[in-house]
């Protein structure tokens, strides 16, 4: 069976075959999405949520810290981006920086309260803080626009000094989001195999042993929470740009639950790529099942239950098992052990 703590096939590689495949699928999406009956905007949404899910899994899967209120930081990022455009200046970079900074600061504050906790107490506190952010977003009309949210958020152009790209249509926005996603993906891939990343995985396995080999458990838990919140904020900022609005719904408990479900169904507990599969499956289910029946969430929920019961390692675990089975007969034929 695979696990997150496996030794990578090519230690030290910055670009792996999986990253190339991931990039190829994303970069060609505008060509094949219409062919399979989907539309360009779903690509933008999927890419943003993959970004969110990969950052979330750093905390959930790698460090084993179960946050059920992560929507709060996604939402803080969305509002920060919108408010920056409306109150400060229309600027893509300024807005995204504001989104990252606001979510990171929120994560640092909340993380300071969480990091002494473990297990169910940790999870409950993430929910409590998530609800506080959600409630504040609804009630602080003057800042957030209450339940209506912030409307008319612009999509500022990506200005690189000499060249500037207009992001107002969905395809160009998609390419921009994919560029951000690929940079973050490569960064996260490096991070999880770095000393810091391995420390995160040590905490998941035994906080006690980690402390007794000299790891400052509290500080590491705090740092990874803030980092994960910052990535959620970046995704939230991009989302408010995609939606051209920011609203409290993304901060609600059930939206925070979706990111957990996506990560689990995809196999975030056993694979770096699990969250990617989980996000793709969720959006395909929403759009394909959703076009067939209004009760699609019922079917999605059933799918979740079946996965949890039969394949708790999720899609990534199932794919791994399948590839092992396909490889095994060939390996045996060649007179080698199956592993």
């Amino acid at each position: 069976m695979i696990s997150l703590s496996d030794v990578p096939a090519r230690p030290g590689a910055v670009i792996t075959p999986q990253i190339v495949l991931f990039a190829a699928v994303l970069l060609t999406a505008p060509f094949w999405l219409p062919m399979v009956g989907l539309y360009q905007y779903i690509g933008v949404e999927v890419a943003i949520w993959i970004l969110y899910a990969l950052g979330f899994n750093l905390l959930f899967g790698y460090a084993g810290l179960h946050s059920f209120g992560h929507g709060a930081y996604f939402g803080v990022g969305a509002y920060a981006f919108g408010l920056f455009q409306q109150e400060v200046a229309v600027s893509l970079w300024g807005g995204l920086l504001a989104a990252i900074a606001a979510a990171c600061i929120a994560g640092m504050v909340v993380g300071a309260f969480l990091s002494h906790r473990r297990g169910i107490y940790y999870a409950l506190m993430t929910i409590a803080f998530g609800q506080m952010f959600w409630f504040t977003a609804i009630k602080a009309h003057g800042v957030t626009g209450g339940e209506d949210g912030l409307l008319g958020i612009p999509r500022p152009p990506a200005d690189f000094g000499i060249v500037s790209f207009d992001l107002s249509d969905n395809t160009s926005l998609f390419y921009f989001v994919v560029a951000v996603l690929l940079v973050v993906t490569i960064g996260l891939w490096r991070l999880v195999h770095s000393p810091f990343g391995r420390v995160l995985q040590a905490l998941r396995q035994s906080e006690t042993r980690a402390a007794f080999v000299g790891i400052h458990v509290w500080a590491v838990k705090w740092a990874v929470f803030a980092l994960s919140a910052a990535i959620a904020g970046l995704a939230g900022g991009l989302f408010s740009m995609a939606q051209q609005s920011a609203y409290p719904d993304v901060m609600s408990l059930h939206q925070s639950g979706f990111i957990v479900m996506m990560t689990l169904i995809g196999g975030g507990l056993v694979s770096f790529w699990g969250p990617v599969l989980g996000v793709a499956l969720y959006f395909v289910a929403r759009d394909v099942l959703g076009s067939l029946t209004e009760t699609w969430l019922l079917w999605y929920g059933l799918m979740f239950m079946i996965v949890v019961m039969l394949r708790p390692e999720g899609l990534a675990g199932a794919i791994h098992l399948l590839s092992e089975r396909l490889r095994a007969p060939r390996a045996r034929a060649a007179g080698q052990p199956a592993e």
Binding site: R190, H193, G197, I215
Partner: protein
């Protein structure tokens, strides 16, 4: 002055007094043993000495500094390492990574976010050296959970050794081991005593009397006897508690 010293330690959990006026001293370069019946307070003593719990009263001095009440990671960073009686390993991780996480060189690098630990030759070599020392060199890329019981015990010690400690606390290293594995563990401890100051809790009297330079006997949360193995053999309290049967 002793390298490590605990003076008048008191600890109670709720209304239960677990340690009452415990004083211990461990000399540099020696193997010190702690023995006593189940529930006597041996592991609690270890937990207090290595920072898991703070004592209610009393001082713990390491190289002359008072370390009582400091958190475990701070104590570990001073060069105080321990193993656990209930094995506490990073089960999903491979053996070499278990050891690597405890290396001081790794600790210095732990905030680095852009280098791959398995591609870092210096770290890998250092971790492999520790594995060779505890006889697990051939198991480096097995997951810790896939090792045999005896190998896991050896890895427990390996993780503690990786810190290159100034003092090494071993909590019942022979616990659950068969005769054969106990013999090879004794050989390992004999090799380690050349380089490390060792304190161990042990139930296996033959093992302890053979290896320890001096032994403290803890009973009812108090130190009831202290001395070299031969002195203890002559002690009537030790004799009375049926510990002398090994002799």
């Amino acid at each position: 002055m002793a390298l490590f010293e605990a003076v008048h330690l008191h600890k109670r959990f709720g209304s239960r007094v677990v340690l009452e006026d415990v004083s211990l001293a461990f000399e540099a370069g020696k193997v010190s043993g702690i023995m006593g019946p189940n529930g006597a307070g041996k592991t609690t003593t270890f937990n207090i000495l290595t920072g898991r719990f703070a004592p209610d009263r009393g001082a713990i001095r390491f190289e002359g500094r008072d370390i009582a009440g400091r958190p475990p990671h701070a104590i570990a960073r001073m060069g105080i390492a321990r193993s656990f009686q209930l094995m506490t390993l990073f089960d999903e991780s491979v053996v070499v990574e278990n050891v690597m996480l405890a290396l001081p060189a790794f600790r210095a690098a732990q905030t680095r976010v852009a280098t791959d630990v398995f591609a870092d030759k210096a770290l890998m070599d250092e971790a492999r050296e520790v594995l060779a020392l505890v006889g697990l060199g051939h198991r480096a890329f097995q997951k810790a959970k896939d090792l045999s019981y005896g190998e896991r015990r050896a890895l427990e010690i390996g993780v503690a050794l990786a810190a290159d400690p100034k003092i090494l606390f071993l909590d019942e290293p022979t616990s659950g081991l068969g005769a054969e594995a106990t013999r090879s563990l004794a050989a390992l401890v004999r090799r380690l005593r050349e380089r490390f100051t060792i304190v161990m809790i042990e139930h296996d009297m033959r093992f302890l009397f053979e290896l320890a330079d001096e032994i403290s006997v803890i009973h009812w949360g108090q130190v009831i006897a202290h001395g070299t193995p031969s002195e203890l053999m002559a002690n009537k309290w030790v004799r009375r508690s049926a510990l002398a049967e090994v002799a």
